[in-house]
């Protein structure tokens, strides 16, 4: 292989952040060929982001101890200024909002060539070409704050491409995006790959990208564990142990074991082309969670000051002991509904009842004893010096008796008691998320609202959170789950409320709901390939475990095409 055929080469890379004893990357060797769609995967905190930042040339800016070398098209990045390097290698970060620093889309896209000192006409021409190719002419003078997360990420991508870089690094670019926007960005990336760009994308959600990827590198604790063609890594035991395999791969493995599938597949789309699923005709297994309404929205409407749409004519009964998923595209009204339930917003119209008691005018702190809310981002909640102090804050505010004892009991229930004297910042991403759940559970609420609890968590940690959510359900808690992750709702939620443009379009069990592609299209939700396999569940309407689902599915596969 010629040197110029290798787009990016990492040679013996080790890195330690300033004032940190531990190396976050150790002896990483990696060669990424030109024109590949390359995936970096690994658990949360495994070093993926650091690796991408170093490759983009941030080692000088970060300081710390950087050993080894990184070559871009055969030249060491040490020979370039970080700005110059931008014409070879660009980077897209996780949060689309903080990547846009200008006040209009056209200025944002022009910013890179402007900062490089290119002639004004060239800056303008580059921006116009990219907008016409990737976006739309009506984007020119739009304000970043008024764009959806998906649109913001597209603008960030366009701004990066304005530097005419050959290699694109993307660090968890879909974390803030709904499934529809994710698909749109992936299609843009595929187009760029076909044009000869090299794409290096870090993610722990392999299901959504495996169909696009040429090769995958698996990283854990700063070390390169394995690297190879997509299929090889997806079926490897290392991936299964470190991150857990995507569901489609688990199903494929089970089918191969049962000799119902001859060749390996890399995603649901591939799999569904090779198997025929027999529709199961069995007895109806009803959802038996309807134990009476615990929370009732009665014809609730809310409009934000300034006239922005919130929710309109929402009537919804949430049953005691159920897990209700609220899904919908960004800005469909999911979080507004949660804020109305919590009392942060007061409805313009309608009433809210908690166990038949009208709580419409009840103060937030009074509602906090009954309805708990876990935010998407743990950093919005955590402030204490110790885990115990953090957890005891709620009971102290609510003047509950013996707050520290309550905190210890709750931490014990969630397996966090051993960290009680630790600083919350020392916990891992998953443990922090558990601590935020503990912070709310300690107030003994009857209802728990979880706002995108899967955000930023790798599949393995998410499984442990799912286990805790199911455990809470068994204890009789009612859980409202606001989520973008439709796949997880199949295994977790008793019912799903689908929201669009501030209205609830339907409330239905996930299995029945996801079998209706026309409705999904109408509500702007993606029809995931996985949903086609749901017919194997027949009339079952109860959430089931992943293992049970795989059993059902593999038993229903009739023939291999």
């Amino acid at each position: 292989m010629k040197i110029m055929d290798i787009a990016l080469e990492l040679k013996e890379i080790s890195y330690r952040y300033p004032d940190n004893e531990k190396y976050v990357l150790k002896d990483i060797n990696l060669k990424i060929s030109r024109g590949l769609f390359y995936i970096l995967t690994g658990p949360t905190g495994s070093g993926k982001t650091t690796l991408l930042m170093l490759a983009r040339g941030f080692y000088k800016e970060y300081g710390g101890d950087f050993n080894g070398d990184i070559h871009v098209f055969g030249q060491s990045i040490k020979n370039f200024d970080i700005g110059e390097l931008g014409s070879k290698i660009g980077i897209i970060f996780q949060n689309p909002a903080t990547q846009l620093h200008q006040l209009r889309v056209i200025d944002e896209i022009m910013s890179s060539p402007i900062y490089q000192g290119f002639p004004w006409n060239e800056c303008k021409a580059r921006a116009e070409t990219i907008i016409n190719e990737l976006l739309d002419k009506n984007f020119y003078y739009r304000v970043p704050g008024e764009l959806s997360s998906g649109e913001q990420q597209k603008v960030a991508l366009a701004a990066c491409l304005a530097m005419e870089c050959e290699i694109l690094l993307l660090d968890e670019p879909f974390s803030f995006l709904d499934a529809k926007s994710t698909k749109e960005i992936l299609n843009i990336l595929l187009k760029l790959k076909r044009e000869g760009k090299t794409i290096v994308l870090s993610t722990h959600n392999l299901e959504e990208v495996s169909g696009y990827a040429d090769r995958i590198a698996l990283i854990n604790s700063g070390k390169l564990i394995s690297e190879g063609p997509t299929e090889e890594i997806l079926y490897s035991n290392e991936l299964k142990e470190i991150l857990t395999s995507p569901l489609s791969i688990k199903v494929a493995k089970a089918l191969i074991r049962k000799r119902k599938l001859k060749k390996r597949v890399v995603n649901w789309q591939n799999l569904l082309k090779k198997i025929k699923i027999k529709s199961k005709i069995g007895e109806m297994i009803e959802n038996n969670t309807k134990q009476g309404s615990i929370l009732k929205f009665d014809n609730i409407s809310y409009t934000y000051p300034g006239g922005t749409r919130g929710v309109k004519n929402i009537s919804l009964d949430i049953y005691k002991g159920e897990i209700l998923g609220i899904v919908g595209i960004n800005a469909s009204g999911k979080t507004t509904l949660a804020k109305l339930a919590l009392g942060f917003l007061k409805p313009n119209k309608g009433r809210i009842y908690l166990l038949d008691e009208d709580i419409t005018k009840l103060d937030v702190s009074e509602r906090a004893k009954k309805i708990g809310y876990v935010t998407q981002d743990p950093t919005e909640m955590l402030f204490g010096d110790t885990v115990l102090e953090e957890c005891a804050f709620g009971p102290k505010c609510l003047r509950l008796e013996n707050p520290e004892q309550l905190a210890k009991e709750t931490l014990n229930k969630l397996g966090l008691l051993r960290y009680k004297e630790e600083h919350p910042d020392s916990l891992s991403g998953g443990e922090k998320r558990l601590l935020t759940i503990a912070d709310i559970l300690v107030n003994r609420p009857q209802i728990l609202i979880l706002d995108e609890p899967e955000f930023g968590l790798d599949p393995k940690i998410w499984r442990s959170i799912v286990y805790i959510i199911k455990k809470l359900k068994k204890e009789g808690k009612t859980i409202i789950l606001i989520t973008h992750n439709l796949e997880s709702t199949i295994f977790l939620c008793d019912r799903i409320a689908v929201m669009n443009k501030g209205r609830i379009l339907k409330v239905e069990d996930p299995i029945r709901l996801y079998k209706d592609p026309e409705f999904l299209q109408k509500s702007n939700l993606p029809s995931l390939p996985l949903f086609k396999s749901l017919k194997a569940l027949g009339k079952n309407r109860k959430p089931l475990s992943e293992e049970k689902f795989i059993d059902f599915l593999t038993a229903s596969v009739e023939e291999i095409k």
């Binding site: 970080i82 700005g83 620093h101 990066c160 935010t375 950093t379």
Partner: protein, 242 residues
């Protein structure tokens, strides 16, 4: 300022940011102290003409400035009555003249805000030979303030959902410090995170605060020259002629 800006298609809106800004600077001393009382109404005239050309209804000016106007009239009249010399009528007239000066000043300021999109400020700074780091800083401030304020709102909501009463009263006064910390730590943490992310973005786009960047071309049109000429002439006429 964002709250004042009214998007319209008019010659005044399309003027160069620096034309608007410099004319505002020229008209300020005229109305504040240069113009003799008899000529104050002459200054009101260009204000009305500019408002009409900018297609902004005078009612909107009144709504935006009524609170300040009424307070100024009351305040200035009272001050003149207390501290000025002469007859009651003279003192009242002096108070009224001072009020008119301030009201004209405010009206010009509000007109500037109503016809100037906040975007024009940092962009305008990047069009002249002011070090670009200042223009970029102002731009980032405009862009990030809504993000940070949303984050602060989320943090306050998150702590309220845990039962923290954030309204102050005598009963909750001893708990003020822990509650203050419960807000300040996440706010600082989030603000720092946002700053680091923006800084990373700027670096990745090749921005160097001390380096050279392309200067955005700044074009002056006939309208710009006309307004410059008019404001300059008014300043000269009032300061030399009277």
């Amino acid at each position: 300022m964002k709250n004042f800006y009214i998007e319209k298609t008019s010659i005044i809106h399309n003027l160069n940011f620096w034309t608007k800004f410099i004319c505002l600077l020229l008209l300020m001393p005229v109305s504040a102290f240069l113009a003799p009382p008899k000529l104050l109404l002459v200054i009101v005239f260009p204000f009305i003409v500019l408002s009409l050309i900018s297609k902004i209804e005078l009612k909107k000016f009144w709504n935006a400035t009524k609170l300040y106007n009424v307070s100024i009239v009351i305040g200035m009249t009272l001050l003149a009555l207390i501290f000025s010399h002469g007859t009651l009528l003279n003192r009242l007239i002096e108070g009224l003249v001072l009020s008119i000066r301030f009201i004209i000043l405010i009206c010009f300021g509000v007109l500037f805000a109503m016809i100037t999109n906040p975007i024009e400020i940092p962009t305008g700074m990047l069009k002249v030979k002011i070090p670009h780091k200042y223009g970029i800083t102002v731009m980032i401030a405009f862009r990030m303030l809504p993000l940070i304020s949303q984050k602060i709102k989320n943090i306050i909501d998150a702590q309220r959902a845990r039962g923290a009463k954030l309204k102050l009263n005598i009963r909750t006064l001893p708990e003020l410090i822990p509650r203050f910390i419960s807000l300040m730590v996440p706010i600082l943490h989030s603000t720092l995170n946002i700053s680091v992310e923006i800084s990373d973005t700027l670096i990745s786009r090749g921005y160097n605060p001390d380096g050279r960047i392309t200067i955005i071309p700044s074009k002056f049109k006939t309208g710009d020259y006309a307004l410059f000429l008019f404001s300059g002439a008014l300043l000269v006429w009032i300061s030399i002629g009277f």
